[in-house]
Amino acid sequence: MGYSLNFSVVWRNFDKLWGGLALSLELAVISLAIGIAIGLVLAVIYVSGGRFTRMAIAVYVEAFRNTPLILLVYLVFYGLPQIVDIRYDATTSFVATLSIYAGAYLVEVFRSGLEAIPQGQIDAGRAIGLTPLQRLAYVRLPAMVRISLPALSNTFISLFKDTSIASVIAVPELTWGAQWINLNTFRIVEAYLVATAMYLVTGYVMLFGLRLVERRFQVARNA
């Protein structure tokens, strides 16, 4: 009851939050980029692959989508170096984890995008003599990008929020910045309120921007 808000210590240490936000965005963007690469390659392999490859990919997707991210983060950072001879700092470890995690989601996004393309368009590509690779490059992938774009934006925003989990292995992103202020000043409410506001504002700005991009593509698809 006796707690009165005092934001001045938060402003004095604002660089921790500001730098944290920048790192959070960086983690999300890099993980998204790697996740897109993983997702694209595996989705293409999935739709053109045999039973065994499909099963292997499905196992990866299910395993990573159904495990709490925080456990994966612990496993990769603390567990993996115990088993195999590998060394990395917390940030690298987290990017690797989040990328593989994002990949699992994006395989699904791209796979369903690829499978949603009307057979007639693929037939049209075959009929003019395109090879399978050409059909993929000029017919299927462009159509898939349009279909997958909304899900891709949502994934990006989720990833941005998921970066807060990196704080558990002391990656100095936004949530960690708030924790630092809390531990050093005991202004717990102020620190977390400001961090929350920063997540919200950034998330909404991204959502708004991505919807604009989507709309441009949408116009091209069914105006």
């Binding site: 049209a124 009929a127 003599g129 395109l130 050409q134 462009p142 159509a143 105006a223």
Partner: protein
Amino acid sequence: MHEPLLTIRDLKKSFGRTEVLKSIDLDVGRGEVVAVIGPSGSGKTTLLRCINFLETYDGGSVRIDGAEVGYTEGRKRRGERALARMRAETGMVFQSFNLFPHLTAAQNVMLGLTKVRRKTKAEAREIAGHWLGRVGLGHKAEALPSELSGGQQQRVGIARAVAMEPKILLLDEITSALDPELVGEVLEVVRGLAAEGMTMLMVTHEIAFARDASSRIVFMADGTIAAEGPPVELIASAEANPRLFSFLARFRASHF
């Protein structure tokens, strides 16, 4: 010599346990326009799709210019690249247009020209412009399919197919997804191609058009060719062919 351009012999095709094509024999000569009619489900689409190997078949042969389309002489399935090369020799126009939605009208026509025919962008653009002009869409080159009417989309579909200079053009009920007032503009384009000597095999429900534009009509029923002949003779023979008679009876009132 004077061998037909397209030779189909004993063609058989089943989907699971349903026999969809039961020993089809059909020849189409160079410059000939052959119409295929028949009730829905009789195998017309499947026949066309076997000709450019969009569908594999279980027996018999399909030859264009003497070469089997889908299989090597030892009846091994051709590799994908060889198949693609063979398919480029046949043009196909679809009932549902199937334009590439992310490409403009011109780009739809250019894709095969640049990627399959290896034309430069400039050459392809010129050819696309020529054919779009021919189908009356010179002014719509930069339009996306979604900005075009059904009739216009289908004319782009025709331009896309003929720009590849195929040996034969396969048309599958190309007007049946169109509003009645748009049918005429598309048939006019086909008539023009026929007049120029394009070899065509066209599935159609436009009996009057089949009668006027084709040199031969093939009537399919239950996966077989139940009757065939020059339009006037075939239609006259319907009195003696109950299946053909009942099929044509549905059109008589409206089209004759």
